[in-house]
Amino acid sequence: MYHHKTIAELSRGLAAGEYTSEQLTRHFLQRIEEHGAALNCFITVTAAEALAQAREADQRRARGEAGPLTGIPMVHKDIFCTDGVKTSCGSKMLDNFIAPYDATVVHKLKDAGMPMLGKTNMDEFAMGSSNETSFYGPVKNPWNTDTVPGGSSGGSAAVVAARLAPFATGTDTGGSIRQPAALCGITGLKPTYGRVSRFGMIAFASSLDQGGPMTGNAEDAALVLNVMAGFDARDSTSAEREVPDYSAGLARPLDGLRIGLPREYFGAGLNAEVAKVIEIAIEQYKQLGAEVIEISLPNSKLSVPTYYVVAPAECSSNLSRFDGVRFGYRCEAPKDLDDLYKRSRGEGFGAEVKRRIMIGTYALSAGYYDAYYLQAQKMRHLISDDFKQAFKNVDVVMGPTAPDVAFGLGAKSDDPVSMYLSDIYTIAANLAGLPGMSIPAGFVNEMPVGLQLIGNYFDEVRLLNVAHKYQQATDWHMRLPDAYA
């Protein structure tokens, strides 16, 4: 079955003429038809467009102009602007928003010839760790539909976990690729800040947001990152440096690899069973030739408080453009300008988004700036320095992606602070701008556990290599939930 194959395998099959892109696309559309609604993982399915793009890909192949990704269907998180296709960001505010242009990432993957099957559900404006803040309702975890898939890229994670598509884009501001990847048992990569263009990716927190791939394994992540990454003249924060061939470095042996284990990532708050799974994974790495070094990231315990100043501060400003004037939701019959603003925003945004806008507004307001925003920026410096120090002695930092496996739907909805703490291990990489990955490493109570890998700046080659070698030695990443096998 096509959905059991990796992108690398599908690419070879297409190249060998074993099947066409149209066949693949029909197969995945069929699966979406079967399972999409139950998982609630799509906001929009673009079947007709996908088939047209598939036929175009087949013609391109016939002309001998196909690349490695040509004809392989994929889905986008609904945070990426797609020309002519609704781009909701999981919000009522943009429920009527047909994006008038393509994001750079969308453009690049379209150019590579990948048919887009649809746009995935997500936490509203990427603010959430469970996908429950979406205007379109929560996504269900394919491993147990009574639990959350994680967030904010929960729809993308569920799509890949149920193999409704071999690849989904995600974005990660505080763990939004890695945490749902962990909870859904797939591979998710958040590249170094600046590696993937943010142009056309609706901003949550500009200095933290980074787009990346969510796939079945590291080899596939490397294949799509080859296309997603790169300098973009339309993004001032895009790094002007060459894109290495991420696939070429995958097979490097791990002999002498130095793995740093931050003791702060194994303390209180971590589910003991999850800890055990991570320890076994580390043992596996030792067998692959790696050396394990205990390290300390002393300030990382304050990454959650720091993040909950920086991200809301930026979001409070980024989301000001949603004012009911030029696009998006506008309230009925505003009686004056103030009413237009307040009701359009009050009705268009959900509770969590409003909460974060209010946190950020308060943290930046007169009299509080120094105590909150400035202090957070200083903390950010300390947290980054911890990593700089660590990477003097280690090649990669490892630990759990999340403190626990997927929790029940609704379990944390009324307690924002406990929800925020589910990103406790992922946030630091965003604050520092470092690349991070989550790969499947085992199960607790039949729910997937993710191993987190954090690499040095722009060292995605090494990160993918370290993930790939593990996946060659294990088969956690190949397990599928029974219902979607």
Partner: protein, 95 residues
């Protein structure tokens, strides 16, 4: 930090968010607990630390001064709530 009703109202106004009167106590309670979490940062003496505004340590790239955009008004205004004669309309603004 414990936020009062007036704080919530003030912030909601600054952020131009209409919130239900009935929800204010919830907001006050949630925001207060979030700010208590945030204030854990106070434990660290950051007197000598320089603030880090951005993860990228590079200068701003500069673009050549050239006109590269064409008029796409009709395209962009298709998604606008209310336009007339090419103008976006809002309730009357009094200066």
């Amino acid at each position: 930090m414990s936020l009062q009703k007036e704080d919530v109202e003030k912030i909601a106004h600054l952020a131009r968010l209409a919130i239900d009167e009935a929800d204010i106590p919830d907001y006050a309670r949630n925001l207060s607990s979030i700010f208590r979490l945030i204030e854990e940062m106070d434990a660290v003496d950051t007197g000598a630390v320089t603030p880090m505004a951005h993860p990228l340590d590079m200068p701003q790239r500069l673009r050549d001064d050239a006109v590269s955009e064409e008029n796409q008004r009709e395209h962009f205004q298709q998604i606008a709530p209310q336009v007339e004669n090419g103008l976006y309309l809002v309730p009357q603004v009094i200066e």
